[in-house]
């Protein structure tokens, strides 16, 4: 059994709980054991690095130092934003030992930074460490018939010189994994366009506009569903979809899956374990394309209606 150090990040325990739990199902099939970083902390996200460089490096470095205490050489990260902060810190520290030493003084109690643990997004881990062929070999329920638009967002492959993974403009790793599951990846030119990210809260209009264009292009490409590997992308495209539809006067009805949900489905996990009720946009229509599957459980609670954009400034 392989082992992998895991950094769940805050969203895995909240908005992207379905990413986290299906990831664990998938890794069980792939015979990989996750080891959480003991006492992990916030990655700093978008807030820290606009405030101070020191904090933006120190928060991820603490996690890196703690991760080095485990035996595994790779850290897998579910959230694209956590991945970004952790990877940027690692690359900058490894390039500049003096800086590493200086930042290390902030988290000196946890230990000395050595740079021995590699940082990968889960997508990268699947693609590079597991491999498309191994994934293909684990498929018991082919997703043939399902057309998906793979949406990578802005962070999983960028900046190129930091991530050194796939293409910053037209990545294909997720497309290849989806094809291995039996699905068809559509030619989708908006793979790396901005979804509006955290403006979801501060300036919802921006997200409705940007995510709206992504939905339109996905629909145009002929996709039944969008596949993502980033919690914020998922929440913007799924949760804001009803508002976008209202604003544009178009019905998209295009569910937004985490790549792990589709993998878990194709690996033969029961449908009721895939957390589909957490989706805002119903998934049944899209999944009908792969033939008969177990019924998708109904939502326990009524879906939370998207919060109306507030007109704060009078």
């Amino acid at each position: 059994m392989k082992k992998l150090t895991y950094f769940p990040g805050c969203s895995a325990h909240g908005t992207s709980e379905e990413f986290d739990s299906t990831l664990k199902l998938v890794l069980k099939t792939l015979d990989v054991e996750l080891e959480d970083i003991p006492d992990w902390n916030c990655c700093g996200a978008t807030s820290a690095h606009v405030m101070t460089e020191n904090l933006a490096y120190a928060l991820p470095m603490r996690n890196l130092v703690l991760a080095e205490k485990l035996e595994n050489t790779t850290m897998g990260i579910a959230c694209a934003s956590c991945y970004q902060r952790m990877k940027v810190t690692k690359v900058h520290m490894d390039e500049n030992p003096e800086l590493a030493q200086r930042i290390n003084t902030t988290v000196v109690e946890e230990g000395t930074y050595k740079g021995t643990v590699d940082v990968k997004s889960m997508l990268q881990y699947f693609y590079e460490d597991i491999g498309v062929e191994t994934i293909r070999g684990k498929v018991t329920k082919s997703l043939a018939g399902l057309k998906v638009a793979c949406y990578y967002g802005c962070l999983l492959t960028r900046p190129k010189n930091i991530t050194k993974f796939d293409s910053p403009e037209y990545p294909v790793s997720m497309d290849q994994i989806c094809e291995a599951l039996g699905a068809t990846a559509t030619e989708f030119d908006y793979k790396t366009e901005c979804c509006g990210a955290s403006f979801s809260i501060s300036n919802t209009e921006v997200v409705l506009n940007l995510s709206g264009q992504i939905l339109a292009m996905a629909k145009e490409s002929g996709a039944h569903a969008i596949v993502v590997a980033c919690p914020l992308c998922q929440s913007n495209l799924d949760m804001r979809q009803p508002d976008i539809e209202k604003q544009q006067g178009v019905k998209y009805d295009i569910p937004v899956f985490y790549i792990t949900q589709l993998m878990a489905l194709a690996f033969g996990n029961p449908v009721d374990q895939l957390k589909f009720p957490k989706h805002i946009v119903p998934v049944e229509g899209a999944l009908a394309n792969i033939g008969k599957i177990d019924p998708v459980p109904q939502k326990v609670k009524k879906p939370i209606k998207a919060v109306e954009a507030e007109s704060e400034v009078e």
């Binding site: 293409s167 910053p168 403009e169 037209y170 030619e187 030119d189 908006y190 366009e193 292009m217 145009e220």
Partner: protein, 657 residues
């Protein structure tokens, strides 16, 4: 007793702003051998040189120190001033207080001044030990080598040959003509490129003073200015050019199809081919990589259909040697590969093409009979977006420099599009319109009015597909807005880049190249066609991107330089060469190994005076020696002396500080 004169230059503000020149003068005056010292704003000017001449005569000076710029810049100038005053020119020493002091120590005037004083003290000390030297005469081989048969090489070859100097023109591909032969019309007059180029190509082939060696490459250059030896590899063409009439039966029947380089791969050529119908020489060659007879021993059709029996599958590469006196390098340029522009979908979208592909399409002898078509479906495009600076001026993805020709050729392309597709509309995304040149700005203005082209100032950030259209999203910086243009076809004005093989060629020739791979001129302003190696000159884009008029000018300048070099039967050469003291030479031949110019050979001399027994010693060929001093450093017996840099001179310099 030595009587030294010291002349310290301000170089306008170049030196004076960072070195206290009067203080330097005062300091050198304290050296007892210095009998005269002064300063002047521009020592290299006529009044400055006059000061040197007058001082030599009036003060009976025995050596001169000029403290100014690098000796590479003005050593010759000042040597001449010494000669004019009746003094041996090699009694001059230059103290380089500009490049070595004022320019590099701009933040510390005191230190820069002190360093300038040290440099002057050293030069004074060295000059005291200077000896009278005399120029060496070497014979000249009056034949020039031109490498590359594009418009630059053609022009240089013709101009040199017209002066009745034999020229060897080596071209790598089967035909001369270069990139210009691929062009349709030329800016800013819309002259047909073929009409102005092909007559020159024919002139080359028929010129009694030009030996054209096509399908060949230079593989070795030995010797020195006036006396080079070149080895040329003539690739096997598998066609006997002496008997071939160029009838074309062979390539009509050849069954192997290969992407046609001349048409940027838009159509196919055969494995036996001439690059284009107007090729010079108009004889086919067999592409050994693709010919099935040569790769698998199957076919042989071309030999069967040739009634002259010109096909010879057993032909081998041939080595040709020529003695030459000068070289003109004119290897042209490559088009930059736009692959890094992933956001444009380069490689994914068939209807994104490069400018040279567009040029071939609109060309009268092109693969689409002069009509631009969409590669995806063969339809004639109506809305065409031209994107400038693809690769140029882009530090992140491409190259920092401006490719210089794209603004003009894109303007030309909007006109050609308008001529070929009357109801078309062109959009041009640009950063700046750089139209500096005779008639250029007028050309752009007229084109904008006549074609109604929409010029959008800004960069394109993304191209994506919508149905069968390409959506081009960019910034209109003048409106401060993001704009999207629906295009049938997108043309990328890709950058001009240095030929890939230029670094290899530069090493082979012993000349330098810059970080992009362009060959370096000796001086960016005053010696733009010479290289740092005597007798090797540069023409055209191999030195930097340039358009046809500029290329032709530079090629003619090269020809003038070559003709000047060959004006006499012998050539003067600096006397800074090594000599061997046979008394001390042990014959170890270490100097032979370290000499980078192959200037040292061995000689047998009697062991003692009148003895018949011989021993081996080293011998320097003065004509070849460049005075680098490597042999002096390696010699264990201290048997080698380099004129102008003798041990007493060097020791004097060291002792003086």
């Amino acid at each position: 007793m030595a009587r030294v004169g010291v002349f310290v230059c301000f170089c306008g503000a170049n030196i004076a702003d960072y070195v206290d020149v009067p203080q330097v003068v005062e300091e050198v005056k304290r050296i007892k051998e210095v009998k005269f010292a002064t300063e002047y704003k521009y020592m290299c000017s006529d009044p400055g040189q006059g000061m040197i001449r007058d001082a030599i005569v009036q003060n009976k000076l025995t050596s001169i120190v000029v403290a100014a710029c690098s000796p590479r810049m003005h050593e010759k100038t000042f040597r001449k001033a010494l000669s004019d005053a009746g003094m041996n020119p090699y009694l001059l020493e230059v103290a380089n207080i500009r490049e070595h002091s004022s320019w590099v120590h701009q933040k510390d005037k005191k230190a820069a001044t002190e360093k300038a004083m040290d440099l002057c003290r050293m030069a004074v000390a060295k000059s005291i030990a200077n000896e009278q030297l005399h120029e060496i005469s070497v014979p000249v081989t009056k034949r020039a080598l031109v490498i590359g048969g594009g418009i630059a090489g053609i022009q240089a070859a013709l101009d040199i040959a017209d002066a009745r100097i034999p020229v060897v023109l080596v071209e790598r591909s089967p035909s001369i003509g270069g990139k210009m032969a691929q062009l349709d019309e030329t800016f800013p007059t819309l002259d047909c490129a073929q009409c102005i180029l092909t007559p020159k190509m024919v002139d080359v082939a028929s010129h009694p003073y030009i030996e054209l060696i096509p399908y060949s490459e230079v593989i070795e250059l030995q010797g020195f200015v006036g006396n080079y030896k070149v080895r040329i590899k003539k690739k096997a063409s598998y066609v006997n050019f002496k008997t071939c009439t160029g009838c074309g039966a062979c390539w009509q029947k050849c069954p192997v199809k290969v992407p046609n380089e001349y048409n940027m791969g838009i159509d196919k050529r055969k494995a036996i081919y001439t690059p284009f119908p107007q090729a010079v020489p108009n004889k086919p060659v067999i592409d050994a990589e693709h010919c099935t007879m040569l790769t698998k021993g199957k076919c042989g059709i071309c030999a069967k259909v040739c009634d002259k029996g010109s096909i010879d599958y057993t032909m081998q590469d041939e080595i040709i040697e020529r003695e030459i006196g000068a070289v003109v390098v004119a290897t042209g340029y490559d088009m930059w590969d736009p692959k890094p522009y992933e956001e444009y979908g380069v490689g994914r979208f068939k209807d994104i093409i490069t400018s040279l592909e567009f040029e071939r399409m609109v060309s009268a002898n092109g693969p689409t009979n002069g009509v631009p078509i969409r590669p995806s479906d063969g339809k004639v495009p109506k809305n065409v977006v031209f994107i400038k600076c693809v690769g140029s001026r882009d530090e992140a993805k491409g190259i920092e420099y401006c490719s210089k020709i794209c603004c003009m050729y894109t303007t030309k392309h909007t006109i050609l599009l308008h001529h070929k597709v009357h109801d078309s509309h062109a959009y041009v995304f640009y950063m700046d319109i750089r139209a500096a040149g005779k008639g250029y700005e007028e050309f752009v203005k007229k084109a904008q009015v006549d074609t109604g082209t929409t010029y959008l100032r800004g960069r394109v950030s993304k191209i994506y597909k919508k149905g069968d259209k390409l959506m081009v999203r960019g910034e209109d910086a003048q409106l401060g807005q993001v704009v999207e243009v629906e295009a049938d076809m997108v043309v990328l004005a890709t950058a001009v880049s240095a030929p890939k093989d230029n670094p290899d060629l530069a090493r082979l020739l012993g000349i330098s190249y810059d970080k992009y791979g362009y060959l370096s001129e000796a001086h960016p302003k005053l010696r733009p066609v010479e290289t740092a190696k005597a007798g090797i000159f540069l023409a055209g884009c191999t030195q930097a991107p340039k358009d046809i008029p500029e290329t032709v000018s530079q090629a003619s300048a090269c020809a003038a330089k070559v003709c000047g070099l060959f004006a006499g039967d012998t050539m003067k050469k600096d006397p800074m060469v090594s000599t061997i003291n046979n008394e001390y030479c042990s014959g170890c031949q270490n100097c032979v190994k370290v000499c980078p110019y192959g200037a040292i050979v061995t000689d047998d001399v009697p062991i003692g005076h009148g003895s018949k027994e011989l021993r081996t010693v080293a011998k320097i060929n003065e004509g070849v020696c460049q005075g680098c001093g490597s042999c002096v450093a390696i010699c264990r017996s201290m048997a080698i002396n380099l004129a102008g840099f003798t041990d007493p001179q060097i020791i004097n310099e060291i002792v003086s500080i």
